[in-house]
Amino acid sequence: MRHLVKIAVRNLFRYKRRTLLTSSLIAFGVILVIVFGGLAISFKTQMVGILTNTALGDLQIHSKGYVESIDNLPLNLTLPGNTLAKVEQSLHQSPYVAAYSPRIKFGAMISNYAQTSNIRLSAVYPEMENKTCPGLVNRIKKDLPNPHQFIRPGEILAPDNLMKGLGLKVGDEIVLIATNKDGSVNGLTLHISAFIESVLGPAGKDGYIHIDDAKTLLRMNEPEIVEIAVHLKNFDQLNTAFNELKKEMVAPESNIEVHSWEQLSPFASIARIVDLLILVVKVILISIVLVSILNIMTMSVYERISEIGTIAAIGTRPRRILMLFLMEGFAMGLLSTTVGVVIGLGLLWLMNLAPIDFTFGMMQVSLAPSIPAREVILITTIVMLVSIFASLQPAYKASKMEPVDALGHV
């Protein structure tokens, strides 16, 4: 085998310029996939991280039918006390769950006594929320001595754009007016503790209050939780955790639904488009490799018909001739991939020296591209397999040549 490799490599460099051109083309394709993949994966990871770590959580648990009518923020689709206790017990026992945060979500009117607007509110236990969405505090425009106490009773974290519209500032008093599930309207005065940047763009009007204030405002005896956000220990285990929790909690007779962030955020579609784009670039790479290797190997076989006749006449078995040409294709793929991977990773490293900063919606994204090792291995494997596949037909043709015809070829 060693000798076969040696001959294959030397044959590859027989026509240096041609080999160089072809490998450059393949290497360029590999670089393209690595750099584009690095940027796209990094963009996706950052965006998903922002969404899940600052607002959504990785998973959410609701009462059945809640997500379907989430735009209305219904207060009648709550998780009843015994159900809530069971869910919390399951979450405590799950090996995948790092933290969870019960929430009451509702719509209200906010007034500065001169102007009124509408607002969506999440009433939370600040410590639990901070553990579940650790990035949330980064959106708050205020130095927080204790992030676990980012909201206290009597305070409201008001959305930045709404506060600009109402001309409010930190410390101002506002009144919240909300209708509870029985249809009773109630009001509650609160003070603005800080502003919070919206993660969803200019239209976002999401604020936070303490769950005790929600109890008062909505006239609840006990907090009537409508949503539990869940933070996983390892985001890569999202699907496993989702399936496990769903299996455990969602029985036919139960009234619970479990959703992953992908089912709750429109960004999941963008993430899927990013994945699709990466796939398209990979398909382009496969096409480049397929055409390049097929072309060079076909030329190689036609140029060396007489030589094939010679080695066949000497007694080289057809299978070994096949292997010789497959090896050449493989060596070409390996050489090109190695060069492509080295340059591609080098470019990513250079990009990391000066991360690209930009705003996506209202989100500040700092793009420091990186590519997971498994992606690099996947790209390398694809190129190798396609190289062998592309060499197959020319190699097969070479192995099937009759020595007497090949020797007579001029």
Partner: protein
């Protein structure tokens, strides 16, 4: 002792609309350690006959037995193994592998065809290169040596597997007269030293004189056989 036996061998090519008969009912026997030449004008069937004896092609009719094996019964892979074990080839255009050095070209059949241990390989290659006078050039690539030198390397490559028969189709056609004689001389020496049967075809009347047994072909028919005692 008969090494090669041809019994009423006919070869017909069906390449165009009209079938072409290259050999017609050839019957002959070649013994071990013979030094045989086939002569005849172009198109007389010399190359076809050498191809058949080289198990590169099969007769349309008749039997061709080498070492008692009927070559018509061999499949592609079996024929390759048979060639590797029994035959050596010297070609008109030398047909050395350009990416391999002189040493590696001679080594090739031992590596890819016959798996001979490294030490034994080295001994055999150097012995043969020494005998053909190419040991000093062993690290050169074929494009760095002359035509005569290439053909000497080709002879060494043909002999390195200790074949019973070496077939050479017009081995001196691309060489000047003096070099051609040298190459034939080397082949003759090897025949004596290793007991290998050499069968070659040629146009060159002077080279023909070197053969011990001379067959003349015309239009695919064996028209004459002449045996000489060169000693």
């Amino acid at each position: 002792m008969t090494l090669i036996r041809l019994e009423h061998v006919t070869k017909v090519y069906h390449t165009g609309e009209v079938p072409v008969t290259a050999l017609r009912g050839i019957t002959l026997e070649i013994g071990k350690q013979a030094f045989v030449s086939f002569i005849g004008p172009s198109g007389s069937g010399k190359t076809t006959l050498l191809n058949l004896m080289g198990v590169l092609d099969k007769p349309t009719e008749g039997n061709l037995l080498i070492n008692g094996v009927n070559i018509s019964s061999l499949g592609r892979a079996e024929a390759a193994t048979f060639r590797a074990n029994t035959l050596g080839f010297v070609f008109q255009n030398f047909n050395l592998i350009p990416v391999l050095t002189v040493y590696e070209n001679v080594e090739y059949p031992l590596l890819l065809v016959k798996h001979v241990p490294a030490e034994e390989r080295r001994r055999r290659i150097l012995t043969l290169l020494e005998k053909v006078g190419m040991v000093d050039q062993k690290d050169k690539y074929p494009n760095r040596i002359s035509g005569g030198q290439k053909q000497r390397v080709a002879v060494a490559r043909a002999l390195v597997t200790n074949p019973q028969v070496v077939l050479a189709d017009e081995p001196t056609a691309n060489l000047d007269h003096a070099t051609a004689f040298k190459v034939i001389g080397i082949m003759h020496e090897m025949q004596k030293e290793f007991g290998t049967t050499f069968i070659f075809s040629t146009h060159d009347a002077k080279i023909v004189g070197e053969a011990e047994i001379l067959y003349t072909l015309e239009d695919g028919v064996l028209v004459n056989q002449e045996t000489k005692n060169r000693n």
